[in-house]
């Protein structure tokens, strides 16, 4: 199988870009993300070398923190890229097709970046082989790992097919159905935990699907807006604008439903919905969803699309952190001088994990873009 020019850029493209890079013409974002990757890498290295006790602020009371929320964020972005690919191919084929390889590539690298963040949170990542040796079929986490592996595999196959112009409709459907199951499994991993009222909901798998679609599409929209600026083809970003509005409206409805269900419950632990009501409405709904929607309603330029997409990505990242961490705010069993509400603020090392994952995604994508890896897909003439 041809590797150069399909999976990775051609040799002459790599050497040509490396020369530019050495001459300081690699692009500001590349140098910035390289610095981010190195600094973040030091943080990740410290976590593994010094251990969790000295580097991260999670505890028995807040077992999951920023690293898990970063994983969830990237995993959902990855899923969203795949949904964008499916909807783009099905409903906007002419505008979308030239961006397909970029979208799938983004889905792939965000999935891997998410896993890097997850790996730094596990107490014993070196025992991951236990998923094969002693699997537990009753665990949502086990099924999530199974489907996550299938998801990455299908993404790689889909990417190779697009790059080799051998894309098939069957593969397109497979690369939609498997991520739906994968990210529903991720939602059920949280939603099935009856002890945590902030998580426990049958709405959560659906919420994850739609917020994944929103964030994945936002990332793709930035790429589409950049491409339309480069090529002068403004029509290419219209599908992304439309999909983002659909995503924002869907997540708004689901967030509203989740809050209402939580507020109307009188069981112990559900007071967390009352306590987080203000932040959920003002920041989670008005700022994170209504704001970008209004921008897209009244400004239809590439700059507006980029701005609203960045806003969506930032606010949804914070929403993932809120979802993961606020679940532990009300302790299930209070003893001694434990506070009535548990607080958590991530350590510098946890923040560096985020820097590492973000920088890895940015660096890999921008370098591959500059090397012209995706140009091959732009010459696709056939359809599905």
């Amino acid at each position: 199988m041809q590797i150069y020019g399909v999976l990775i850029p051609k040799k002459e493209q790599i050497s040509g870009y490396l020369k530019e890079f050495q001459q300081g013409k690699g692009g500001v974002l590349v140098y910035l993300s390289l610095v981010g990757l190195l600094v973040g890498g030091v943080g990740v290295g410290c976590i593994f070398m010094l251990g969790h006790g000295h580097t991260i602020n999670t505890s028995s009371y807040v077992p999951w923190g920023l690293q898990i929320s970063t994983y969830v964020f990237f995993a959902l972005v990855s899923g969203g890229c795949i949904f964008t690919n499916f909807i783009g191919n099905m409903f906007f084929p002419h505008h979308y097709r030239s961006l397909a390889s970029r979208v799938i590539f983004l889905g792939l690298i965000t999935a891997i970046a998410g896993f890097a963040s997850l790996a730094s949170e596990l107490g014993h990542v070196e025992r991951m082989y236990m998923f094969l040796l002693s699997p537990n079929p009753t665990s949502p986490m086990f099924w999530m790992s199974v489907w996550y592996s299938a998801d990455i595999t299908i993404l790689i196959i889909e990417y190779i097919h697009i790059q080799r112009r051998r894309h098939s409709k069957g593969m397109l459907y497979a690369s939609f159905v498997i991520p739906v199951i994968t990210y529903c499994s991720l939602g059920s991993l949280f939603g099935a935990v009856g002890t945590m009222p902030y998580y426990y909901s049958s709405l959560l798998p659906i919420y994850f699907l739609f917020s994944g679609f929103l964030t994945g599409n936002a990332l793709c929209a930035i790429v589409a807006a950049q491409q339309s600026r480069r090529t002068g083809n403004q029509a290419a970003m219209k599908p992304f604008m439309r999909m983002q509005k659909i995503g924002l409206a869907s997540v708004f409805v689901l967030t509203f439903c989740r809050i209402i269900v939580g507020l109307s419950s009188h069981q112990s632990g559900y007071e967390i919905f009352r306590e987080t009501f203000f932040q959920n409405v003002v920041f989670g709904m008005l700022g994170a969803l209504v704001g970008p929607f209004m921008i897209l309603m009244y400004r239809r330029t590439s700059a507006a699309l980029i701005f609203s997409s960045v806003l969506v990505l930032i606010t949804q990242f914070l929403a993932r952190l809120d979802l993961v961490v606020e679940g532990f705010r009300v302790p299930v069993f209070r003893v001694y001088d434990m506070p009535e509400r548990i607080s958590y603020f991530p350590s510098i090392f946890e923040m560096l994990v985020v820097v590492f994952s973000l920088s890895a995604v940015a660096l890999i994508y921008i370098v591959c873009e500059k090397m012209g890896l995706f140009e091959i897909a732009e010459t696709i003439k056939g359809g599905h």
């Binding site: 969790h52 107490g123 665990s139 299930v332």
Partner: protein, 238 residues
Amino acid sequence: MPSPEDTDILDIMRADLQRALKKPRQQRRWAMAIDLKKCIGCHACTTACMSENLTPPDIHYRPVKEEELGEYPNTGMRFLPRPCMQCDAPSCTQVCPVTATYKRDDGIVVIDYERCIGCRYCLVACPYGARSADVGHYYTGDFHTKTYEVENSGEYGKTSKRTSHWRSPIGNARKCHFCIHRIEKGELTRCSTTCLGSATIFGDINDPQALITKLINKSNVMKYKEELGTKPMVFYLT
């Protein structure tokens, strides 16, 4: 069998334990009863447990919850010791992705320290907060660790010391295991032997002659968060 009235409660429990150990393991069902009227909130069980299992800072297998009941002027205070409930339908074992935590045939929910990946999903799923994450803290700091902090605690009969990350409880979930290493040697759980008010009763509820069986068959028995369907095997006598 001597009656509770004229014999020390520990002797009765020891006799119950010896009788249970003669049976095959699958015929035993270990359980604990805690008499809340007798608990004086001294926390002796908590400290004894920490000493027995050499638990690191912030990890208590058996904390005691202090509860204020009623409203002024009709108020009271209650102490609620909380070991692992060793549930019959545990939510922690269901969620563990690698079967590192499982229920033995005698009912004790254990953790395989060499299989746990440290994902902490069991901590999230346990409705009693009975599980803790050992992230590698020491009481006396990293560079001046004392022997008692790194010594092998004997939990689950393991021999590895708490010195390195790779073959020790560090990085894993930890929890009360009814002093499994003691009861298999014919000794009672540490909390039941240390209880000043003789409030903690341990034994095999499959044995109709056992003290615990007699006590939990009375009407004043409460199970903590029983409504969740976890079928806890710690009975509170009220």
